[in-house]
Subunit: 414 residues, 2 copies
């Protein structure tokens, strides 16, 4: 499949990474722009999201309404997000509409109006998202955990903070746009049906006169870690536990990822079986692997009733510690079967592939073909995973709980 993979780096730093899937009738694209929340100033947490909300509201020759009309006319099914590192914009459309969708997105990225009249509706929309999280105790717990576990600014919530969002004005928005919407660091992933030479020329026409940005550094703080309790008037308690992982580009990444998959992934994984099925302790429990470019973590969540919260925390921590004793062959075999299935599905979806190859470029500086992913997964053995676990056992946990009472957290956490 690797002959279907193409990349092109333009002189100003913009990278086009593409995979042809000529049996499809669709094409999907993912634009990663280096304007994520780590690039906000600390007193403007949420500014990247506010800017992202403004982008659609008029760009190039189109006002806000014409822009959405034209994208709807192309049948573009859009997606967007703000992460720590990036603002992402993407879409999937019938293959013949890819070029026009990219033309409109060049206006969105390079020539948004960022118009005074659009700021209040944009702010209302971002504040509404934020209120939605306030109503979601599980999400609230996990955002606090992430903030505590990663050093600032990497743990910052992309949804922002209410006071900072209320304080942000058009100058702030325009300043972030000027600083961070730039070709150097921007990655365009495309997957589906397309002709690469034509695509490369089109992207050049749209983006190669985009000027490079100024160098910038990120001011990193040491993480807080330890234990934090968030009082919440409820009969339920949410528990978040984090420990350190290794990033995607680390050579041992798949060993670390495989260990987490044994813990949580599929219905036969350890946490689900031990904590939920056997002991009936809690309603939901899972762990997921999260990677940034230079750091990574495993984040676990358990939701339970207040009276079972202490036992749930104890049992979950015990399961995490038990991982250091190693994984079994049958556990790893199941994980590999699930992963193989997941890779097949990813390979059948232009949207999934366009976002995977853009992320590959960010983390690795190249596209990892599905066949290589498959062989990395195939190469996992209990011995290789256990060697990693022996060297890097889950330890030094960061814990956040949300509920009526704080819990007792073992020494070594707080």
């Amino acid at each position: 499949m690797s002959d279907a993979i193409f990349t092109h780096a333009y002189d100003n730093g913009l990278v086009l990474a593409a995979q042809r899937m000529p049996w499809l009738r669709s094409a999907a694209f993912t634009l990663l722009v280096p304007g994520g929340s780590v690039h906000e100033s600390a007193d403007r947490c949420g500014l990247a999201s506010l800017l992202s909300e403004m982008l659609d509201r008029g760009a190039g020759p189109r006002d806000s309404r014409q822009l959405v009309i034209d994208l709807d006319n192309l049948g573009v099914d859009r997606s967007g997000f703000v992460s720590a590192a990036h603002t992402g914009l993407g879409g999937a459309a019938p293959a013949e509409n890819l070029a026009e969708a990219l033309r409109i997105h060049a206006d969105i990225l390079r020539r948004p109006h960022l118009d005074e009249t659009q700021i209040e509706p944009s702010r209302a929309s971002v504040l509404h998202e934020l209120r939605g999280i306030e109503d979601e105790p599980a999400q609230k717990t996990m955002l606090a955990l992430r903030r505590r576990h990663y050093a600032e600014p990497w743990g910052r919530p992309s949804q922002g903070e209410r006071d900072a969002l209320l304080a942000a004005n058009l100058d702030d928005i325009r300043a972030l746009f000027r600083r961070r919407y730039r070709p150097d660091g921007t990655i365009l992933g495309v997957a589906g049906k397309f002709d690469f030479p034509a695509l490369r020329d089109l992207v050049g026409e749209l983006f190669d006169d985009w000027p490079i940005g100024e160098p910038e550094s990120i001011d990193e703080q040491p993480p807080t870690n330890g234990y934090q309790h968030l009082p919440y008037d409820s009969q339920q308690t949410h528990i978040g536990i984090a420990y350190q992982g290794i990033p995607y580009r680390h050579p041992d990444y798949f060993q670390a990822w495989g260990a987490t998959g044994v813990l949580s992934g599929g219905m036969s994984a350890r946490l689900f079986t031990e904590v939920r099925e056997r002991r009936g302790l809690c309603y939901s429990v899972h762990a997921s692997y999260h990677t940034l470019r230079d750091r990574a973590a495993v984040f676990c969540h358990a939701g339970t009733t207040a009276d079972r919260a202490q036992q749930t925390l104890d049992v979950t921590l015990a399961e995490l510690r038990r991982l250091a004793e190693g994984v079994r062959d049958d556990e790893l075999a199941r994980l590999k079967a699930r992963m193989k299935s997941g890779l097949i599905m990813q390979q059948e979806s232009s949207s999934a592939r366009s976002s995977a190859i853009a992320r590959d470029w960010y983390h690795l500086g190249r596209i990892r073909p599905v066949a290589e992913l498959q062989s990395l997964v195939d190469g996992l053995t209990p011995a290789s995973v256990n060697a990693y676990l022996a060297e890097s056992p889950p330890t030094r946990f960061t814990v956040v709980t949300l509920g009526p009472e704080p819990l007792e957290v073992p020494r070594g956490v707080s």
Copy 2:
């Protein structure tokens, strides 16, 4: 594409409906069993969900743990739901594992253990889902709206009611299983890579000795309609509005569906533009078309602050009424572009197709090829949609609000 479509009806009523997508490496299946919430007794609302939760916890020769281990080993990405008419079970897997996944599902449907030891964890899980909805005011509003708009039992929430779920015992669960898990009315949709003669023989082997069930009728009550306010201590108000539609199998279905698409679908649709973008009244507003076999409705939701709730209700109702004046050519053209794109995506996913063809069989008694769907969408004109709207304008609204104060609802609603 229609030469890729196969159906087979077994003597006991079970139907296999399949579409070959030989360029894929995956295969997906959707089982619709006639055991949805309309088949519960009124004092056991939620029993179908409780039964569905029990199915996985041991079936045939496998105990609860072995069952999930074996499905994980096959790389089956599972899905499930309970709707008014059906309990649905589905999965997608590498094509070579389809047969074994279906074998296990034959045990799940025909030989579940429904074991006493599994009832409390199952109940806890269903009650947890229910509590999740209690915390979601938007969903709570829409469930109350649906209940009020459709006649009982069609408006019943599949998540159930707390008291009914607490009262349900193993006898209730087993009785519902015996009555409603049956071949007559069960539809198996399959899409992806498979060999049809082998699939037909396998399904016959697994299911053709499954005995037909007893005839049953459903006791239908007249709907309540009118206006209902749910007091809720919040600064926000949620508004739900419903009006009658026509079901999928009605010859004018696409006209009615198209009118709703002009109202809400894509960012340039009327509700989003008028209510949210132009007037800044509310955070979210949308309408969606919902079809059962013999009835259908359009359900609208708007979420806003309490002080803007009355105006939001008035403006939204005015937009719904304005639909009777007809849709414009450009609005319909955008909708058709979006629909074309959606059909292309559906055609590229084995999961999406397996569920679409199972639903087609339920509603139409045949599979509608994507090409036919495309030509039905292509055939929509402002004249055809407007003829439908002139005859069946949005009227006789059912309204539910949730917030600190009831709203004033115009005559003709309550």
